[in-house]
């Protein structure tokens, strides 16, 4: 029975891999089935979510030794903990004895975790330190050193903590590549802190749809979010048209709205921004009207500015599209703010975040409606074979004089970043296929 299952699974995978030939981002064609297909999803869990660097937390969520939060990497539950030496550990939240979930709460502070099933106890470094009646039951046979919690590799950039299951993965900075320059603007422009826990809500969609949207889709803002201009939160309906479309390598994409009518950050912090950023980055920050983006595969971010209660304010947020099945995600969103921003700014910025993004956000509400309906439509064989159109901007020439790295196009409306996202996706999904001549 077991071997039959394996054979079947291999057959499905092969079939899924065959069907991936229809994915042609180079021609601006992406078939809808990849947003609904269970075999594609299983392959993604293996080939994308066990290999890529995945965002797990902001460093400020676990400032002190013993602090921890629980998160997921792909569908695997993990504990993100700061150990007694101050190092951040990402541990598979699965007991090595019977596979029970060891930590079952969202956050806390502890030096060790005890499994509820038989009481196996692990330090927050993952080391197994206690097995009830060990000597009596196992004698000297149990090699505790080999039974620690499975550790993911952990690296941080600009306070953003990433982890990967792949021991062979390139270092995080290399994986991020040119996008680091833009992550500096996002999360490294000052000392930043995440305020409170993330919003978490379930949306019946495929994880790639929101990821692609934040990487590449400024075009939708004009129609999906037309209500926002109508009620005066933004000055015009085309507020997200002008600026730059940045292909930031390895499937990462950023869009910078520019120019701005006025500086969107707290003026008091300019000296701190100048200390953290290069003059070229500072020049872009001064021009910035907003900045959405995605780090491949499922980590998105946004700097957005609105006029709320008569006052102009920006907010910074991080988003994670946590896969829970081919047509299900947990959408998570964190509010980030400069630690030394004035109190009134922090408060107004936080309110702007809640009112415009997160589950009650007046912009994200309409996004979730789109994402849900697209995933539902992608299920049938006819719609599934439909090549969705991603041609916008094909053949356009990148700028030569933009100060930041990556392939930068003038104007935010473009689909180059979506094509790059799916090209990277395809490359990872294909990697590991048996070669035809093998």
């Amino acid at each position: 029975m077991a071997s039959l299952e394996i054979t079947d699974q291999r057959g499905d995978r092969q079939e899924a891999a065959d069907r991936l030939r229809a994915v042609r981002p180079d021609r601006g064609e992406v078939p809808a089935f990849i947003f609904a297909d269970p075999d594609v999803y299983r392959l993604e869990l293996e080939r994308i979510f066990t290999r890529c660097w995945l965002f797990v937390a902001h460093e400020s969520e676990i400032p002190s030794p013993g602090d921890y939060v629980t998160r997921s990497m792909g569908e695997h539950p993990v504990i993100v903990a700061r150990d007694e030496d101050g190092a951040i550990r990402v541990l598979l939240n699965v007991c090595r004895h019977r596979g029970m979930r060891i930590c079952r709460v969202d956050l806390g502070n502890t030096s060790h975790f005890r499994c509820p099933y038989h009481g196996f106890t692990y330090k927050n470094t993952g080391e197994l330190i206690g097995v009830p009646f060990e000597r009596e039951l196992y004698g000297d046979a149990l090699v505790k050193e080999r039974l620690g919690l499975i550790r993911a590799r952990v690296e941080s950039y600009a306070g953003l903590v990433f982890a990967t299951w792949d021991e062979q993965a390139e270092p995080l900075q290399q994986y991020l590549g040119p996008v680091t320059w833009y992550l500096d603007l996002l999360a490294g422009r000052a000392e930043m802190e995440a305020v409170g826990p993330p919003h978490r809500y379930e949306v019946a969609t495929n994880w790639k749809l929101p990821a692609e949207n934040f990487a590449a889709d400024a075009y939708h803002t004009m129609h999906t979010h037309a209500s926002i201009a109508e009620i005066g939160l933004t000055p015009t309906v085309t507020w997200a048209k002008d600026g730059y479309h940045v292909c930031a390598g390895n499937g990462h994409g950023v869009m910078i709205g520019a120019p701005t009518r006025r500086f969107i950050f707290a003026e008091d912090l300019i000296p701190e921004f100048e200390r953290h950023l290069s003059p070229a980055q500072m020049a872009v920050l001064r021009q910035m009207a907003h900045m959405p983006g995605t780090v491949f595969p499922n980590f998105s971010f946004l700097i957005s500015a609105v006029t709320l209660n008569g006052r102009f304010v920006s907010h910074t947020e991080l988003m994670l599209w946590q896969p829970k099945g081919p047509d299900r995600i947990d959408a998570c969103s964190w509010f980030l703010v400069e630690k030394r921003a004035p109190a009134w700014w922090k408060e107004l910025s936080r309110q702007a975040f809640v009112v415009t993004f997160g589950p009650s956000g007046m912009l994200s509400q309409d996004d979730s409606e789109n994402f849900t309906q697209i995933a539902r439509n992608a299920r049938g064989p006819v719609a599934g074979r439909l090549a969705l159109n991603y041609e916008m901007g094909l053949g356009r020439t990148p700028m030569r004089d933009f100060p930041g790295p990556g392939q930068v196009y003038e104007g935010k409306y473009n689909e180059a970043n979506a094509r790059a996202f799916y090209a990277r996706w395809l490359e990872l999904m294909r990697d590991g296929d048996p070669r035809p001549d093998a």
Partner: protein, 167 residues
């Protein structure tokens, strides 16, 4: 203010009336039920150890609204571009376990259990949002107005695609 049976009865009526306005999408009338200084909050609920009583976050919330931002939300829903609720969800706010306590001056604290049913499109499945309202209602000019609502939701991960509806 002493909580007489009549006051209790008035507040039950106002809660039922509010539910009727929300489910009937009579949102301008609903806004008129709120005081000018109304606060409208929905904290993030957390999974924590049994010994911890702070199982919701005051630092981050699903709603962080005042009268002005609620009016903006209502105004938005009336535009032609509020796709999240056009076509609208079918909702039903069920209110029970109402407890009324004095809160000083013209105000009373009203706690109630709320179950919100939400269904969209042709789907037969539906979302349920369960929670406790911790309200403050204020008597002004002989009428009860909502001055404060904290909605303690009974999910750490919200099981509805957005909060384009009110709780």
């Amino acid at each position: 203010m002493e909580i007489t049976p009549q006051i209790r009865e008035e507040l039950l009526e106002v809660l039922y009336h509010e539910a009727e306005l929300l489910d009937g999408r009579r949102l301008d009338e609903w806004l008129a039920l709120l005081t000018e200084d109304a606060a409208y909050r929905m904290p993030i609920r957390l999974t924590r150890e049994r010994s911890r009583t702070d199982d919701h976050s005051t630092e981050m919330q699903f709603f962080w609204d005042d009268r002005t931002s609620l009016a903006l939300r209502v105004q938005r829903l009336k535009t032609e571009f509020a796709w999240a609720e056009d076509p609208p969800s079918r909702t039903r706010h069920f209110i029970s376990n109402v407890r009324v306590r004095p809160a000083g001056g013209d105000e009373v604290e009203v706690r109630s259990c709320v179950l919100i049913y939400r269904n969209r499109g042709e789907a037969t499945d539906f979302d349920l949002i369960s929670g406790e309202r911790q309200d403050v209602w204020r008597r002004t000019d002989g009428a009860w107005r909502l001055a404060r609502r904290v909605f303690i939701v009974d999910q750490a991960t919200l099981g509805t695609r957005n909060l384009a509806i009110f709780v």
